[in-house]
Symmetry: C3
Subunit: 296 residues, 3 copies
């Protein structure tokens, strides 16, 4: 694996290689020592969790990490992204971990021949792609259930605008799991073949093994989302959450919006912190594989 | 010592353990190698000195350090502090060094059972607590005078709004030193038992061994402090500074406000840079003890 | 070499020592291990390239690096620069890498006796001085041509307001190269003895070995530079660039302003990324020599 662009570019084999390598890191069966590797984190959108998780992973594989502060940078001076990366690559940066609102940026960068010595890892882009999130969600499910293929996963929330949803759907489809999406019609987005769409919570939750709640973006609530209606019909509560279902959420949870606060105290919600924990192993695995493919 | 919340929570024994460990670090008799420890610095208020001092200490004990940028973080997205820390703890952060304007935050965090794997160090909070400052001030005094108990320390300035003053008073009371506070009535604050209060500089400075000047917060001058009167009656000058007294200041000094510039060239003021230097040893000691108590 | 203040303060011997040490680093013949050295980067002006280049160099010589965030610092609280540096020096910072709009700051700092334990490296100041840029440009030329003395270098652009131009002129004069400056009269600035000034591109480019294009500062275009006229008479194009000339640029290029885009695809422009690459070796050499002179 030279780059991590999106889930679509990965084969099932590669997904399982990442899973296995992450598992080796979790169990302490593998150590990585990339002391001569330089990884630069370029986050053009706010993010605590993903950025800190990547930084932790970079430390754990003993790479050197750099923080490219988008605001404090020459990008203010009209320099474009390609030039910046070309320059950083000349300086000696090996891997570029990028979060950006442009869904095509990482792919375009990976296709430039003059970046042949650079690798790109998508840390979340636009509304379509957040591959490390989908990989860590898969890891979390598989780690518990072993076989994901015969499981039913229901994704709930603003499906149309969630890169977590798109990437998870792409991954779970590849694996062959049963995917349900639950949302009011106006938040459903383009329907994906093979996915079952629901507007009624109780029907969607029936026989569901895993419920993935999405974060409702606060900035979308006022204009685009009828929040009272959403809460009434789609908020996850102690009453409507199936007893044995795993509850997942990419974090941070908007309490009492997509999930009622008291649900977070249930055993079902323990998964959410496991997702955070597993994210580090997945990112270690991805970076380790990318660096290995560069001979580093 | 699991956390460093405030001076009030420390016993005299613990204070002297911190002193001794800092001394070992200063003398090079102790090395610490916390290569697998992850410390995150969360500064929600501006600070050069304290933040850089903690970073230096973290490097010197070979811990991994992380910078949580308050502005660039998901806290913008409405996430609350507990969730953030819960997540960072799941990711693998061991120690949280926190500066925040809320005086209760660090204590509250330390009391949550679900943070059992996390340690909290108060790097300055609200107007009451700045324990590492008081510890380094104590270290600086004791390092020079050996016995602090029979010394007279006069604290001068806006006592009412200074966390440096509160923490020093708490510590020096525990140790049994003679404490004087010098300030105009309206800056004196709630009187603490066992402390002598003065409004007249010459009386307060008589037979004083150590004078601790406080920083006058610029933002308080216009509205709350009659600055001309303050300078006239309380500014430390070559004329009113006792010949043999140690002059201390937490820095940065507002020159020609709390201290007249030319005083800073005197031998008495050499202590101020020693405070800065000693701060690193104290923070090494605190972090080392906290990490040890976690088995790290 | 205790400090790197400006090119004027360096002897030809010192310039060549820096060249030789950088060459040793590039070839892998020298390793530096400054594990106990603490270098703080203080960038008071935006910069991606120079800052990242210094950070890479600091990592490669195994020093500890610190980021002094100008905005997030106590300088907001009215503290002045000297106090800050005095404090950081007491904390244990050894080298201060400073970018600032004040051309005299680094020199003044280096002259304070109380900073005797601190070294200062100018990372670009005001409109006069950017010594590491001139050193890396010299390195890039000498690395290719071996002898720089008999070469003709033409500097093109807003000479009057470019610290890259001033530092390069100072260095190339010391070395004894033939220097030409090409600019419209109003962007020429004070004429330097020994430099040939041109207003006509074709005359300036005749028999030129190296062309150094300067970055036109966007913020100066509207008010101070007649940009259409500049492009018509001074933009570097495939048509006017001499076939064998090396094209240099400090980056980032304003495409289709100082250089027409398609020129960047030519072999002549390959030098530009070499400049970026070489910058790391020069900064490693400078920091290594500064630290050696401190016994570190």
């Amino acid at each position: 694996m030279k780059h991590l662009i999106d889930i679509e570019s990965l084969s099932v084999d590669e997904i399982n290689q990442i899973y296995n390598r992450a598992l080796e890191f979790e169990k302490g069966h593998r150590k990585a020592n990339h002391i001569n590797s330089n990884i630069v984190n370029m986050f053009f959108e706010n993010s605590t969790r993903t950025k800190m998780s990547f930084e932790m992973a970079e430390n754990k594989i003993n790479a050197k990490k750099y923080d490219f502060c988008a605001d404090a940078s020459s990008l203010n001076k009209g320099e474009d992204m390609f030039d910046t990366i070309n320059n950083l690559s000349a300086i000696g940066m090996n891997v570029f971990v990028i979060r950006h609102n442009d869904d095509n940026l990482v792919k375009e960068l990976s296709q430039k021949v003059y970046f042949q010595d650079a690798a790109f890892v998508n840390a979340g882009s636009g509304i379509y792609s957040h591959p490390t999130q989908a990989l860590l969600d898969y890891y979390t499910i598989k780690r518990h259930f072993l076989d994901v293929k015969d499981k039913t996963i229901t994704i709930v929330g603003d499906i149309a605008h969630s890169r977590v949803a798109s990437s998870n759907i792409a991954l779970l489809k590849k694996i062959g799991a049963k995917i349900r999406c639950l949302a009011p019609e106006y938040l459903t987005g383009d329907k994906v073949e093979g996915v079952e769409y629901y507007t009624d919570l109780n029907s969607a939750f029936e026989n569901t093994d895993i419920i993935m709640a999405l974060r409702i973006q606060k900035e979308r609530i006022q204009e685009h989302i009828n929040i009272d209606e959403y809460i009434k019909n789609y908020q996850i509560t102690k009453e409507n959450l199936p007893y044995a279902a795993f509850l997942m959420h990419p974090g941070p949870v908007n309490k009492d919006i997509e999930i009622r606060s008291d649900v977070l105290e249930l055993q079902n919600a323990k998964t959410i912190l496991n997702q955070a924990k597993n994210g580090v192993f997945i990112r270690m695995a991805v970076l380790d594989m990318v660096l290995n493919s560069m001979g580093l």
